[in-house]
Subunit: 412 residues, 2 copies
């Protein structure tokens, strides 16, 4: 097949796939243009999700009416005070959690500290000999740094291992294991059910970081008995830049959740202003200080794009998108010019494709200049995130085609 007819065939296929895409109507709910109103192929929703169109009006209402006119009355009248647990309950179905198990607030890093310290404390309460904290060695850096801090603060020892080696490495000295559900660089999906089961088999606690999986695929926190989990809300959940993160605590562990950040918002009677700390019941125990209302209510509004969406349909589309993108890359990229570092096996793939090429920085800059936005991770990785609520098959085809052009141009 000639280059032109190959492209024609792939474009036609993309159009057909988009025509039968049951999530296609969601795309209109997002702003996908640039500052001149030109359309952008935005494949960086795994870094910062696009703006849902209803968010600006809601934020304006929060600022102008709730803060501006009602001021402190809004803590009760506008539901500000209960926002962290209310928004947690909105995220819950997307990650397979029952209501009352997720609380929103703070950054992911801060929540990693809460979760890991709490996990180590539970393990040491079970058995003081449990002093090892295992972390997957390709973790997003902050998880590793915070895990090391948590270990130092609790007298544990941290050890980094390949995620696939964790089940064979947990044992009677293991306190807890911290794993990224999807590797932020390669897009590899780690085996949450299997690793969690192995950790439990060894009598330890499993803490999962869902930053790169929540909103892209079913997580099944309750189903798989995950102990604690954290995640951000500004990637596939489209909550906005630096939107608050969340913390999940398994139902039967909530009474034992012992936070290193027992702020007044987690007190059983916060307005009692008692000098003695008494933790609240439930997920509220994961709260700390006054919630950042503007960011939090922007997130709440952003989550309305999920109304009526089945996360299994999201996963099906995500896999179809990434499969199709890989076929397009194979068709368009000069042979041997890029190497896919994302596993091709569905069970091991998240919702991004990472391609390695030696001049990745320059290639990505050129892609962005031509309206295809992915990102670059040092030293040599091109990342393309596929967010099924707004990425189309036409986007995938166009991105691969422009990538092929850029690679061809640079090879000359």
């Amino acid at each position: 097949m000639s280059e032109t007819s190959k492209a024609t065939a792939l474009r036609e296929e993309a159009a057909k796939l988009d025509a039968v895409d049951e999530l296609a109507d969601r795309r209109a709910g997002f702003v996908l243009e640039d500052e001149r109103g030109e359309p952008v192929v935005y494949l960086d929703g795994n870094s910062l999700g696009a703006l849902p169109r209803t968010v600006p009006a809601r934020v304006a209402e929060v600022v102008e009416r709730e803060w501006g006119r009602l001021r402190i009355r809004s803590w009760t009248e506008s539901g500000w005070w209960t926002a962290p647990e209310r928004i947690g309950d909105r995220i819950a179905p997307l990650v397979g959690a029952a209501p009352g198990r997720i609380v929103v607030g703070d950054s992911t890093s801060v929540n990693v500290l809460k979760a890991v310290v709490a996990a180590v404390r539970m393990a040491q309460e079970d058995n003081p000999a449990r002093t090892d904290l295992l972390v997957d060695e390709t973790t997003f850096p902050t998880d590793g740094y915070i895990a090391a801090s948590a270990a130092r603060l609790t007298g544990a020892a941290v050890r980094a291992l390949p995620a696939e080696g964790l089940p064979g490495s947990v044992g009677p000295r293991t306190a807890a294991v911290l794993v990224n559900h999807v590797d932020y660089r390669t897009g590899e999906l780690h085996d949450l059910p299997g690793i969690t089961a192995a950790v439990h088999e060894a009598g330890a606690y499993a803490v999962w970081d869902l930053c790169h999986s929540a909103g892209a695929l079913p997580v099944g926190l309750d189903e798989h008995g995950v102990d604690l989990a954290v995640g951000c809300t500004y990637k596939y959940l489209n909550g906005g830049p630096g939107a608050p993160a969340y913390l999940y605590v398994r139902g039967d562990l909530q009474q034992r959740f012992d936070s290193p950040l027992p702020g007044w918002n987690s007190h059983a009677d916060p307005f009692g202003m008692s000098p003695a700390y008494e933790p609240a019941e439930g997920a509220v125990r994961g709260r700390v200080g006054t919630p950042d209302i503007l960011s939090m209510l922007a997130l709440e509004e952003a989550l309305t794009v999920w109304d009526g969406v089945d996360i299994t349909a999201v996963r099906a589309k995500s896999l179809a998108l990434t499969d199709f993108f890989l076929r397009c890359v194979e068709a368009y990229a000069p042979a041997g010019r890029v190497e896919c570092v994302t596993p091709t096996e569905h069970a091991r793939r998240g919702s991004q494709i990472a391609l390695r090429c030696p001049d990745a920085g320059e290639v990505m800059a050129e892609l962005v200049a031509r309206g295809v936005v992915g990102d670059f991770r040092r030293p040599d990785v091109l990342r393309f995130g596929f967010t099924p609520l707004y990425t189309s098959f036409a986007d995938a085809e166009l991105a691969a085609r422009v990538l092929g052009e850029v690679l061809a141009d640079r090879a000359v």
Copy 2:
């Protein structure tokens, strides 16, 4: 003097004081009406500052253009990445700090953990026998809870003492002292220079909580050699509900600042994504995770109301307002009906007046219903905050007059 002529005289005096108030022009910069457009006497800026009028347009720009149109480009093009230290530098002159010493982010509670753990670590590095952490016993609860957590995490022991007793209680075993600059209930201003000097004399570290003083009076962090300080930005700094807090680290201690929350944002090369943590230089070392941009940039805009304001003029007006309010309360309130629990001595007063009366909850509800907004702190305290940028002497007179009416009505 009759009731009527007394009121006439106080109203006239208020008008005269407002006429010569050099900060009077700032009031127009804030929204002070309720949802029906009716004016409110808002004396709760010590809980949540009023909305500066330029904030809504700036927030809309951040949401619609920076997030909506530029998306990830805004981390560099819109200055998102450097916002925590840039906004810290805007707060710095208000609390007497040089540039590069304050970083904005996280909640006050989270910053208390950073500051107290770092202080204890420095003390123990100086001398491992320093194991005592002293806290003022009337502290805002979260400081006490977090201090107890910090002590548990570092092997220190926490002890609560009256603030005035701290200078006599510090000694060779003291690691650090955590004090609230202004007591949130009584409005008492603690002696920051004296306590800090005594703490240093004993070889320990002083951590100050500025929530109820920053923006209301000069703090002089650098001048008095304060080691570490934290504060919120949603009270006198008008940053919005749950706006991010800040952390101050004295210049010569920054190299020793050892955070319990070493998130990737505080790494010397955050985009290097190195598995090994290497802290950044300067205040940036106090950063943790991705900053909550919407709340943070709303705060940045809110801080523009301080352009050209001298904090000593703010203090002068604050004291004049609270003096005048107390005189009005004395004139209007039935004798013996309320008791002032705020020190009358200027050097010991912040920018709020706390009045004790047995039915404070009911009295405040009635005040709010009549358009005078203060707040109630259990079990029996009425709090009235005076925010010199937008509170007028007419507000103070009217609030006291309505209070007198409510108290008289309820006494019948």
